[in-house]
């Protein structure tokens, strides 16, 4: 297939595990939250508040435990049943926006939007975002580019600039 004029979207959920926990516990809104890996070994998801404190992805829990207590960070063991259920819902919703979807991980997928340009991809992307948010309560970011790599890059920019 030629790469000319393709429009690929990368859609991924923001702080996915943390966002899942927040959907079912509104008291967690705007609070610093960490989700730990199996057996509570490492930090595998952080809310924005935690990222702002400089706690890195994948860091062993014992290394940041004191810092977490000091900042009253709320800590969860991972609940993969919940995350998988929410992931299935999100992927199903996204699949209704275009026929060609590639689920890339639990919280991200590529969607070929080449045939949807006439609708305006910014508008279409916003529609995808608001639909996911309304139906399952999860925030997502979308990047669109001529290839998967560029889509990933655009998604990264979308994450950093809240104007989108």
């Amino acid at each position: 297939m030629t790469a000319v004029n393709r429009s690929i979207a990368l859609i991924d959920c923001n702080n996915f595990y943390v966002s899942c926990e927040r959907v079912f516990n509104p008291a967690l809104k705007r609070k610093p939250i960490i989700v730990l890996s199996n057996n509570d070994g490492c930090v595998i998801a952080r809310s924005q508040e935690v990222k702002d404190l400089g706690i890195k992805m994948g860091v062993p829990w014992f290394k940041v435990q004191n810092l977490a207590m000091h900042h009253k960070i709320i800590v969860f063991s991972s609940n993969y049943t919940l995350y998988a259920d929410m992931s299935n819902r999100v992927m199903k919703i996204i699949s209704k926006f275009a026929p060609n979807q590639e689920v890339y991980s639990i919280d991200e997928c590529f969607l070929d939007l080449t045939g949807f340009k006439h609708l305006g991809l910014t508008d279409y992307g916003q529609r995808i975002r608001s639909t996911i948010n309304r139906l399952v309560g999860l925030p997502v970011c979308i990047g669109v580019g001529a290839s998967k790599t560029l889509a990933k890059l655009a998604n990264h920019i979308a994450k950093k600039c809240s104007v989108f």
Binding site: F24, P26, K29, T81, D85, N88, R134, V136
Partner: protein, 146 residues
């Protein structure tokens, strides 16, 4: 007890669950004398399909409390909540008020938004701008054992 709701840990319908169909009898049930024509089956019913219109947006919640008994929602009921339904005046909703879930009837009034209880023993919640209100979803069904 104020009616709070807790989300069930297994919220999703099992994706692999095959439709379970049950026979439906054609005539409606009269509360009086039983009809002699009841003895045939018209159709079958799949309860998943009957209760869930929009699978991706449907969640199950458990009620704790009796503030909504006037509208048929009892303590310990299972609620089927559909987030795809439009939030309209008079609907029974799951609302998050200042970080806590509650089930109430949403009513718009001159005073603003009111979360109405359906039990005279409870006061309505009048939402003022300082409250953090989020309507989480619209309640579609309340299921309780008779």
């Amino acid at each position: 007890m104020e009616s709070k709701v807790s989300i069930l840990s297994s919220m999703g319908l099992k994706p692999e669950s095959s439709p379970r169909e049950w026979p439906v009898f054609a005539s409606t049930i009269s509360a009086g004398f039983p009809s002699p024509a009841d003895d045939y089956i018209e159709n079958s019913i799949d309860l998943n399909e009957y209760l869930v219109q929009h699978k991706e947006a449907t969640f199950f919640l458990r009620v704790q409390g009796d503030s909504m008994t006037g509208l048929g929602i009892l303590n310990n009921d299972l609620l089927v909540v559909d987030r795809s339904l439009p939030v309209e005046d008079g609907k029974i909703v799951i609302a998050a008020v200042d970080g806590e879930f509650t089930v109430k009837q949403l009513v718009h009034s001159k005073k603003g938004c009111i979360l109405k209880a359906a039990n005279p023993a409870y006061r309505d919640i009048i939402v003022d701008p300082e409250n953090d209100l989020e309507v989480w979803g619209v309640v579609r069904w309340a299921i309780h054992k008779l």
